[in-house]
Symmetry: C2
Subunit: 268 residues, 2 copies
């Protein structure tokens, strides 16, 4: 897999989606020593619009940027945090791909959410309790770390931040409710179709193609998220392919008939 951390993230996404390569030379950043990499400012960040600070003024951005200075880099399969660990920060995914999951006492794993660039993780621990999920990088990933305490202090100076945080928690609740509907009311083929369309939409809001993308997670992870066995996911992807709805090759997906997929889940 050609995961490229940090600066090269947008081009990594584009390449893997068979798009134009914006900054081909940036691949050299892979070789850059950690400390030598230049610190990106929030203002210059490609994710400005998607971040917590989306609608901040220039002055507010400055204050926010101080909080978000710490970046953490993770290799694939590395944990960002684990259930039970004390929670002091929330994290914005700058590049790469993550999953959040709950592991039950008898060892069953339930993936609760996939996080792509611009997504937050760690919100569940905003109130100071220890983490109740695991967060794992599915490929090389970089996150901005934002300490809760400092963020709370900033709300005193930036009034609308409070509201923004409520919005973000609400979005999280909303997303989980949709996952509940998916698991509670849909059949396997509907779940897989809905999953692919949703993933496409999320890529679209980041400026990438909604119909052509790479599945960064394993079939087992998709299955866990959808409440299905990995074999079922694999079978359905194959079936969708012979039905002409999409084409799959390993992890790359090309949706050919999004109307058809929508029809599968009962929406015109």
């Amino acid at each position: 897999m050609n995961a490229v951390p940090g600066l090269a993230a947008p081009s990594a996404q584009l390449r893997s989606a068979a798009h134009v390569v914006l900054f081909p030379t940036l691949d050299r950043s892979r070789a850059l020593p950690r400390a030598a990499r230049p610190q990106i400012s929030c203002n210059a960040c490609a994710l400005r619009g998607a971040c917590i600070s989306a609608d901040f003024s220039a002055a507010e951005m400055g204050a926010f940027e101080e909080l978000a200075q710490v970046k953490r880099r993770l290799r694939g399969a590395q944990h960002l945090y684990r259930t039970g660990e004390p929670a002091e920060s929330l994290y914005v995914v700058r590049s790469g791909f993550m999953k959040s999951s709950v592991v039950t006492s008898d060892g069953r794993e339930q993936v609760t959410r996939f996080h792509m660039m611009g997504d937050l993780t760690g919100l569940g621990a905003m109130a100071g309790q220890p983490h109740t999920t695991d967060a794992v990088a599915l490929e090389d990933t970089e996150v901005c770390e934002i300490p809760f305490a400092a963020l709370q202090r900033l709300t005193l100076r930036v009034p609308q931040l409070q509201h923004r945080l409520y919005c973000l928690m609400t979005q999280e609740l909303q997303a989980q409710r949709e996952a509940l509907v998916l698991l509670g009311t849909m059949r396997a083929e509907e779940r897989v179709a809905a999953f692919l369309l949703d993933l496409g939409q999320r890529y679209r809001t980041l400026g990438f193609s909604a119909s052509r993308f790479v599945l960064r997670m394993s079939r087992a992870d998709i299955g866990s998220y959808l409440g299905l066995r990995l074999e079922t996911v694999s079978r359905l992807l194959s079936r969708f392919q012979v039905e002409g709805l999409l084409s799959v090759e390993g992890k790359s997906v090309h949706i050919l008939d999004s109307e058809g997929l929508l029809a599968l889940i009962g929406q015109s």
Copy 2:
């Protein structure tokens, strides 16, 4: 069903749980005209410990009480709010029983949560967006209405309220994550067992019996919540009964072997 609204709520719960009757004469409140019922103060409320204001000082309680003056009473099957309606308040269930559910565009219903006394509903709309769920009373129910705007104003005077609100949203997230695990990883018998044990625990935290209670919702509602058909729920309740795990008669449940139920869901 002997649903008793308003003041008689605690005794209604106790009676249905075959417990001591605290205020037997309060049953007469059923006949009281609406306007004549005395306004209960937050200080005297039986739910003090469970409410938003749990750890407020006397002065703070006074301020909070002003917000929560409006009560709304609902008959069974009546909506508190509907998807798409503007959201201005959150609600604390004072007595009775409610469900929150999402209805998909093709008419399928997913119950996302049951609310009993002391529970909140409407948190999902804290950030000012319209409601994304329906909230329906499953029996005669009374709720305290707490306007968001006034609550936000109060956070300026009561610093720990902000934190309390984050706690409540976090609890909501946590509850939904557990529902996800239930739907994603458990088999039908595990789901029903987990549901009954959870319901028992929630009654216990309110001071009622964890092993003897009344199901206020229909089998169809239980099924929707658990991602099962109502027939499956019914069959499993019957099977648990012949296995000696519990006894059911209509809506009353008596858990005889909670260890056995726990074992079913893979916990010793």
